[in-house]
Amino acid sequence: MAEISTVDLVQILFWFLAGCISFYFSIGNARVWTSISMGFFLIFLSQLYVIEKALDMPWTAYTQLEAIHYIIGTLSIMVMTHGFQEYYIFSRTLEIGGSKQAVYFTILGLLAGSSAFVFLNPEPQYTVLRNIRMIENTTWVFLCLVNLDMVRKIYVQIRDSLIAKGFIAFGIVFIALFLWKGSELYLQVYNWDNDWKIIMQNLGGVVTDQYMGRRDFSILVHDIAGMLAGFSVGGTFIYLVRLLR
């Protein structure tokens, strides 16, 4: 059985709670909320791989599954960005369209398509997996900034309505997510991440111990922001459930 750090365990616990709450929230609410809450639920699914690996589940031997988990992570931020975009359009035009089923089926379709892409191509090696993870983190960092701006604009538009404070909470969530994914991307960009260390070891190379302060600080930010992100997502949805009751 592989080891799982306390930080990872707490993060998974928070993401599990956040996933349940957001999924529950998506059931009884408008389509816009379906996209947003499904996006957050998908984070939990992508993070689930950490536990599966720790529990040494038999399917973790297939690197394709690890790739699919990273793709799910990428899809999660894209889906929730789509939700926030729709909410922003609503706040400007008051137009609401489409159905919840369309959101569910699109997500399922994207997951099926991504899985087909992964399984039809050669089995991903560590370098490929790291690349997919970097793409995930890059997408997260970029779209977190986009969403922060969108959340600000939505808040300005609806600031005297009951739900406005919920968007301040989403602002905090995206700051935490930006730091969580951004710190990991920073480590990857400078080859200071653990995956790169393993790859170098397999190749017989060595990663130098330079800039350890920055590296350790980035890892600390990653762990704290990860926990904070899970906690704030769960808290935000509990707050929204209470507000919209």
Partner: protein, 318 residues
């Protein structure tokens, strides 16, 4: 108001609005009618005398102002269309018709003579000698009696409170005996001479009636249009007020976006007039609910929709 003997009433107090004057005149002409038509309108009275189907005179008294001939007939046409009038038709003898004509249209020989200052006996003898066709009106401030003469011989007596000609002179004598009583003497041409006049030949009643019909229709149309315009304006004001109130309700529950939401949902359904249509109101409220769900809680949304529904059902009645 003219107090006249009723003779033989053919119609009494029928609605004047139902009368088509040219047709009625045609009928009276065909039947060689002798007598008079008495139109009573809310602020006017008209008497039209017929002798053997000929309209010998017409008089319209409108708040003390007397019109005769063409003007009287034209006035009657207008007043019939104005509504609220009644018509009575009385058949009389040729002689009595002549006397009544004298009373209304006759030449005044004496007017307002105090009875105690004149020799009544001498006057009656003079009338007899002159073979007078006409009428003597003996009156005080509150009582009147009429004595009708044909060729100087009395035909009959008529006074306040009676409905027809009487043969007894006692009431007339009583009035003549009252202090301050006065006498008017009115004469007219004989019945045969009067028959030389026929207003129906001088006035094209059909044309007059048609032009009045068309003028009244135009006037009514104008009034109807004005009324419609006022109604529309009032309805629009009422709906604008309701829309403003709905916006206020929405703002109280959702915030300033509530007002925009109400405006948008109404515009999507053709404007505030949609509030008069049950189906569109349901669609409007569904649209507001859909938008409100993204801005506030379920309980507040339900409360807001209930308030809006009540406001609309109370105030948007077509």
């Amino acid at each position: 108001m003219f107090l006249l003997p009723k003779g033989n009433p053919l119609y009494e107090n029928i609605a004047a609005a139902k009368v088509k004057l040219p047709e009625m005149f045609e009928k009276l002409k065909g039947g060689s009618f002798t007598g008079y038509l008495n139109f009573t309108f809310p602020a006017a009275t008209a008497i039209l005398f017929f002798e053997a189907g000929k309209l010998i005179s017409a008089m319209l008294d409108r708040e003390g102002k007397r019109l005769t001939g063409f003007e009287a007939i034209a006035g009657v046409c207008t007043l019939i269309f104005a509504g609220g009038g009644t018509l009575s038709v009385y058949k009389l003898s040729k002689d009595l018709t002549m006397c009544l004509h004298a009373m209304i249209h006759g030449d005044v020989l004496y007017q307002g003579q105090e009875l105690k200052l004149i020799d009544i006996k001498g006057l009656l003898e003079k009338l007899k000698a002159q073979r007078l066709n006409g009428c003597l009106r003996i009156y005080t401030d509150d009582r009147t009696a009429l004595i009708f003469y044909k060729e100087g011989a009395p035909l009959g007596f008529f006074h306040d409170g009676s409905t027809d000609i009487e043969t007894s002179a006692s009431e007339s004598q009583k009035i003549a005996g009252l202090s301050g009583s006065k006498i008017d003497v009115l004469s007219t041409k004989s019945a045969d001479e009067l028959m030389h006049y026929d207003l129906l030949e001088m006035v094209n009643v059909t044309k007059l009636w048609e032009s009045t019909t068309s003028r009244v229709a135009t006037e009514r149309d104008r009034i109807r249009k004005e009324a419609e315009l006022v109604d529309r304006q009032q309805e629009d004001d009422k709906l604008r007020e309701l829309e403003d109130d709905l916006k206020e309700v929405a703002m109280a529950y959702i915030g300033k976006m509530g007002a925009t939401l109400v405006e948008k949902e109404l515009n999507d359904r053709g404007g505030r007039k949609a509030l008069l249509d049950g189906g569109l109101v349901t669609a409007f409220l569904a649209g507001v609910e859909k938008g409100a769900k993204l801005l506030t809680g379920m309980s507040k949304t339900k409360e807001m929709l209930e308030t809006m529904r009540n406001e609309i059902s109370e105030r948007a009645k077509p």
